[in-house]
């Protein structure tokens, strides 16, 4: 499959039609998705119609929009007017989006073609895409393995070459971790860089929409289109510098890269450690300056996250009560109707987090847990601010392990939560972070994470692009 940039250029130069790009994507989906299960729905007819329209416009010499003909998949929690958006949950099985999310609005205006919606952990709660109420998604590198999660469908769709690019959402690692496990690029931008309007919320202070691609430039190309302030999201930021899509950075000369010693702890998979050390060697060859740093609060990131995120998500989940959408449960009282609609509509992990969140927020525990977690989060942010005075970027493995067997961690929540141990800090601090492939262990991809300071998204992308050239791409 061609990259998004190649498709964009070929369509613009008349060497390829948008319809051809769409047909190629649909053909790969048809051939492979019955083995992978990346898509919950493919908008086949509509994608063709839109492609034909774009080709017509180009023929009539109208302006060619900047993503004309580029097929893209969206995670099932991103609203596309008139299309089902179920967030992987039975409670929203038949919910159709009443309006467009800002990211979809911007993609459509840029001429991108939305190919379908991808599988995910229910309400993005999970790290393996197994909590989806609808289907399992398999890792294209080994179909006995999970693709990671929660945006596992988007990661697998890109890894299998079904689409060049896809959108995901990242609350604690839900783009970067599946990108690592599937051997693709995944970026979580700075909190507020991309509007969250029209994404089904998990943890509102942590959620950020981001992009999967088969290379860094493709991810940057899409980010450039979807980013920027939006009147519908009060937390979206005014950007003084937009993303640079076509990054040309031959080396890392003068770039200081911090390696936090706390991220290379005992008990870490030695084979992953070796891959990361090789990547560090490549950075040295690219003339980067490697600096060992210390982030002593790192070990508190995961417990902080598992207070703030359930607290916020239990509040966000309160709107699902079977009144305005979903299935209204027949019951003798209103309260019973709520309880029953929610009890039968939500899966186990969602119930677990709602319960945890409400416990944390209940009288007597609020200060001890929620308020304490906000304080630790702020301390983690300040510690990172200090670190970014000494270094430009910070690196770590993206995931402590490669893709594991389907079913392996499913019934053990704490073990599953540990899958996000390296990615969570970026969400707590609101900083940009990317995962790029950096080798394999047992023929399964390993991801390298590069984090940057607030709004340092271009720095992160530039370093990733330089490094990507030297550590090479994964062969599927």
């Amino acid at each position: 499959m061609k990259s998004a940039l190649e498709i964009r250029d070929a369509v613009r130069d008349g060497k390829m039609t948008a319809l051809q790009a769409v047909e190629e994507s649909l053909a790969v989906i048809k051939e492979n998705d019955h083995k992978i299960g990346a898509f919950l729905e493919v908008f086949e007819t509509e994608a063709r119609e839109r492609a034909k329209q774009i080709d017509e416009d180009i023929k009539k010499k109208k302006d060619v929009p900047r993503l004309a003909g580029v097929p893209i998949a969206i995670k099932d929690n991103i609203l596309y007017q008139g299309h089902t958006a179920s967030a992987g949950s039975k409670i929203l099985e038949n919910y159709k989006a009443a309006y467009n999310s800002t990211v979809v609005e911007r993609l459509l205006a840029a001429g991108a073609i939305i190919i379908g919606r991808t599988n995910m952990d229910e309400f993005a709660m999970g790290s393996s895409t197994e909590t989806s109420a609808f289907q399992k998604t398999r890792n294209p590198h080994n179909t006995d393995k999970v693709p990671g999660g929660s945006s596992g469908g988007s990661a697998a769709a890109v890894a299998a070459g079904m689409v060049p690019v896809a959108l995901g959402s990242d609350t604690g690692g839900s783009i970067r971790q599946p990108a690592a496990l599937c051997g693709v690029v995944g970026i979580k931008p700075t909190y507020g860089r991309v509007s969250r309007y029209g994404v089904i919320a998990l943890g509102s202070s942590l959620d950020q929409i981001g992009v999967f691609g088969r290379n860094v430039a493709d991810a940057a190309l899409i980010l450039e289109v979807i980013e920027g302030q939006d009147e519908h999201d009060a937390t979206s930021l005014q950007l003084s510098e937009t993303t640079v899509a076509e990054i040309m950075s031959p080396n890392l000369k003068g770039v200081k890269i911090g390696v936090p010693k706390e991220y290379f702890v005992d008990g870490m998979d030695e084979r992953i450690r070796r891959q990361i050390e090789e990547a560090i060697e490549s950075m040295r060859e690219l003339e980067a300056e490697i600096v060992e740093i210390s982030l002593p609060l790192s070990e508190y990131a995961l417990p902080t996250y598992y207070i703030i995120q359930p607290a916020e998500s239990s509040s966000n989940m309160a709107r699902f009560d079977g009144m305005r959408y979903g299935t209204r449960a027949k019951a003798s009282s209103l309260e019973e109707s709520y309880q029953s609609a929610r009890g039968s509509g939500f899966g186990r992990e969602v119930k677990r987090r709602i319960m945890l969140g409400n416990y944390i927020l209940s009288a007597g525990y609020y200060d001890a847990y929620y308020k304490k977690a906000l304080a630790v989060k702020t301390a983690i942010f300040e510690e990172l601010q200090q670190a970014f005075k000494k270094v430009d970027l910070i690196i770590s493995p993206t995931s402590p392990s490669v893709a594991w067997d389907i079913g392996e961690k499913f019934d053990d929540p704490l073990t599953m939560y540990l899958a996000d141990i390296f990615t969570i800090t970026a969400n707590l601090a609101g900083i940009p972070a990317i995962s790029i492939p950096c080798g394999t262990v047992d023929k399964l991809p390993v991801g390298l994470q590069i984090m940057g300071p607030v709004l340092g998204d271009n720095k992160v992308l530039e370093a990733a692009a330089a490094l990507e050239k030297s550590i090479g791409k994964l062969e599927l």
């Binding site: 937390t235 309160a318 304080a375 630790v376």
Partner: protein
């Protein structure tokens, strides 16, 4: 872990969730161990930190209160509603 008090029925009630017996048993076992894990935070001295919910420097954002009408949006909202008569949306009674 034994010092974690977790009244599962009270929390289920606050959460507006009906739980099967099996779910109840499982959650009763899992939730206190998750709470014990996150209690690790109490090791951190935060006496000099003022807790913030949002870390960005942005100020409040205001807009004019103007009605924006999108007919397709209205139709879809009605279509999603579980019970309706024409354009009237049906909800259960709130008062006994």
């Amino acid at each position: 872990m034994s010092n974690i008090e977790f009244d599962i029925d009270k929390v289920a009630d606050l959460s507006m969730l009906s739980l099967s017996d099996e779910e109840r048993t499982q959650l009763e076992e899992q939730l206190p161990s998750i709470v014990a894990y996150v209690s690790k935070l109490h090791e951190v001295d935060t006496s000099n930190v003022s807790p913030k919910a949002y870390l960005t420097q942005e100020k409040n954002v205001f807009r004019d209160d103007v009605v924006v009408r999108d007919d397709q949006e209205i139709e879809q909202v009605i279509a999603n509603f579980p019970k309706k008569t024409g354009k009237a949306l049906e909800v259960p009674g709130v008062f006994e």
